[in-house]
Amino acid sequence: MIILDNVLTEIQSQIAMHQPERGGALYGPKFQRAVTHFEYDKEGETSAVSYVPSLRLIENVKTVENHIGLQFKGIIHSHPRGFDRPSAGDLMAVQSFFRLNPHLSSMALPIVQQIHVPTEQQGLGFIHWFNAVKTLKPAELNPLSNGLQTAQTNIQIIAEDLFVIPLFKDVNSLVRALTLKGVELKITPKVQHLQIENTHLLGLVASNDDHQEFMFFLSLDYPLTSPIVLYQDNNQTKQLSFPWTGFDDKEASLNRMVEALLPTFH
């Protein structure tokens, strides 16, 4: 699964840094295996051993899918330390999910473990990512059920690798580098979705009160593929041209982008 770096930061601050059990909803672009938004369920019913999504969160899923254009990807919640896999109780909830949504065949079901000190975004030890998949025939025994003998289910729990897209990290890095060169910009912390035909892009805007700005869009293949950067030239929006060798050296490519951006601010 691909996840945006700020989503991981929010999960850390809203869930991992607190007592279990807490949870929330995950969203991303339609039909893409990517999570780009997280909604913490502050009204969820929680106890030391369970998490029940709130009615408000449940209703908001429809609103988000109807009006924002994002797709629900799954439920994330925390377990007590040591219980780092979906439980038999979680599987029952997933069974209900598939009963209600016969058009869907999978949902994300990541489990968060409590941490006491914030980790760098690259440190993913607090989150264990699983995908619950509807199968054609019942699984006889789910090996991930922490030793519980579960009823037969049509659900398979599959552990997945997590790939983090450093959107905020890299735009912050660009803004810091520009500040050192005398151009101070502020990032609007609102992720923009852009779909060009079948390509999904995610972006951020950095600007200041002097009408200086740039827009940074990346695809889910970033940093292998180049980001798209837009800038202003005499009230015309243009695309920045710069050499990108993200496969080889992303930092050098970002530095080249800073050098290419600088003249656009004067």
Partner: protein, 66 residues
């Protein structure tokens, strides 16, 4: 497919100033179609079903009948 970058920028900036249903970094999608036209919003298409989330308990120690 030439894209009107000024229209694209305006759509993005309009989104930045909107309030949305999602409290965390919400935005509507900006869509550029095959002809390069810029549109905002990808509301549910006719016939498309939205997701229903059950209010079931996610519990780490719920005992089930074998």
């Amino acid at each position: 497919m030439p894209v009107d970058l000024n229209a694209l920028r305006n759509a993005v900036l309009n989104n930045q100033n909107r309030n949305d249903a999602l409290p965390s970094n919400p935005s509507k999608q900006v869509v550029v179609d095959r002809e390069g036209n810029v549109k905002i919003g990808t509301n549910v298409q006719p016939g498309e079903v939205t997701t229903q989330v059950p209010q079931e308990t996610f519990a780490h120690n719920l005992q089930l009948q074998p």
